[in-house]
Symmetry: C2
Subunit: 177 residues, 2 copies
DNA sequence: TTAAACTTTCAAAAAAAAATGAAAGTTTAT
DNA sequence: ATAAACTTTCATTTTTTTTTGAAAGTTTAA
């Protein structure tokens, strides 16, 4: 009886974990992050302790190469770390578990890799020489606005982080609701 | 001479426009929006007046079917509109050009399509029955935190919109910098 | 009602992205 | 120095996503 319960429970946990990993993977691919990368991250996020590459391969049913490359990518993003265990030769991996820290790191990386280059192009195209026709005026106007907008949006997360730790700001904002 | 200048100028404009459309398309695909969809949107954003499907096909060098399906998708997102011109049989298209409005619409759609379902799963998996091992405790704890975090993040844009129109809040925030 | 002028749909093709796995590379203990 | 125990790389294969284009559908004007 007791044993039966334990099995039932274990099943439920495994199912829940699997569901979470799958969902996170699907969400990732909708946001331009590859499925496996998101799944590995999900797995590490909810893992108590560091996980070996072997175990990641086993749990996600993926090849060694795939695991290796995606772990590497996650480390490049700065949201997964290598860990060494005493007396163990192989490497273990953990994820950044503090969600604020995670959000900051992801947004910084995306900013660096995608937003900043886009801003450069926006600045470039919005500064084409003298514009006579209304078509051209509209183009310059719109791309300038876009530049300002993206620039502001790019800074939003920093502002939120600042605000988050500022109790006075929080109280004032509550007042004004 | 004057003619030569005009040609040079036209070239520069076309190049700039093309560069913008290509960049926007690339950015889109990094964010889980298909390239053509993002390119059509870019094209309409910087277009003075409504554009016909024929012209979209021509400018982006894409097939009729591709154009039709992606325009439809953009209209489903609520960021592109059909327009009719007097005496013209065919349909023309325009993009939402107000960037705040655009951001609100995109974030509302993404919230509805992706975040809300993800939240549902997070709530589900974080409420698995009694948890004994530390592994299971950690799972429940972490997914709960994630639920709260995603819920908060999901509301951020509304908050920013509110804040944007609140002059008092803005002044106060500047004080506290 | 008809036919011309359009748009949409969707099965098939093409392109792009991701995954595999075996060989090459690395590290560590002896 | 060597071999065992690992990890990484990358050419090839597989999977997924996107695009095509022709047929079907729709609308409009006469």
């Amino acid at each position: 009886m007791c044993h039966q319960n334990e099995i039932t429970f274990k099943m439920e946990f495994k199912e829940a974990k699997n569901k979470f990993v799958q969902t996170w993977g699907a969400l990732g691919s909708q946001w331009g992050i590859n499925k496996t990368m998101a799944q590995i991250h999900a797995l590490l996020m909810v893992s108590n302790e560091a996980v070996s590459m072997e175990d990641i391969m086993e749990e996600l049913q993926i090849s060694r190469g795939n695991a290796s490359m995606n772990i590497r990518a996650l480390m490049d993003w700065g949201i997964v770390y290598k860990e060494y265990k005493a007396g163990e030769r192989r490497e273990f991996f953990t994820a950044e578990k503090d969600l604020d820290e995670l959000a900051v790191k992801i947004s910084k990386e995306r900013s660096k890799r995608e937003i900043k280059p886009a801003l450069k192009v926006l600045k470039e195209v919005s500064s084409i020489s003298a514009n006579t026709t209304s078509e051209e005026k509209h183009f310059v106007d719109q791309t300038k606005k876009l530049y300002d907008f993206v620039l502001k949006a790019d800074n939003v997360l920093d502002k939120i982080t600042e605000y988050k730790d500022n109790w006075l700001a929080q109280i004032l904002m509550k007042f004004m609701k």
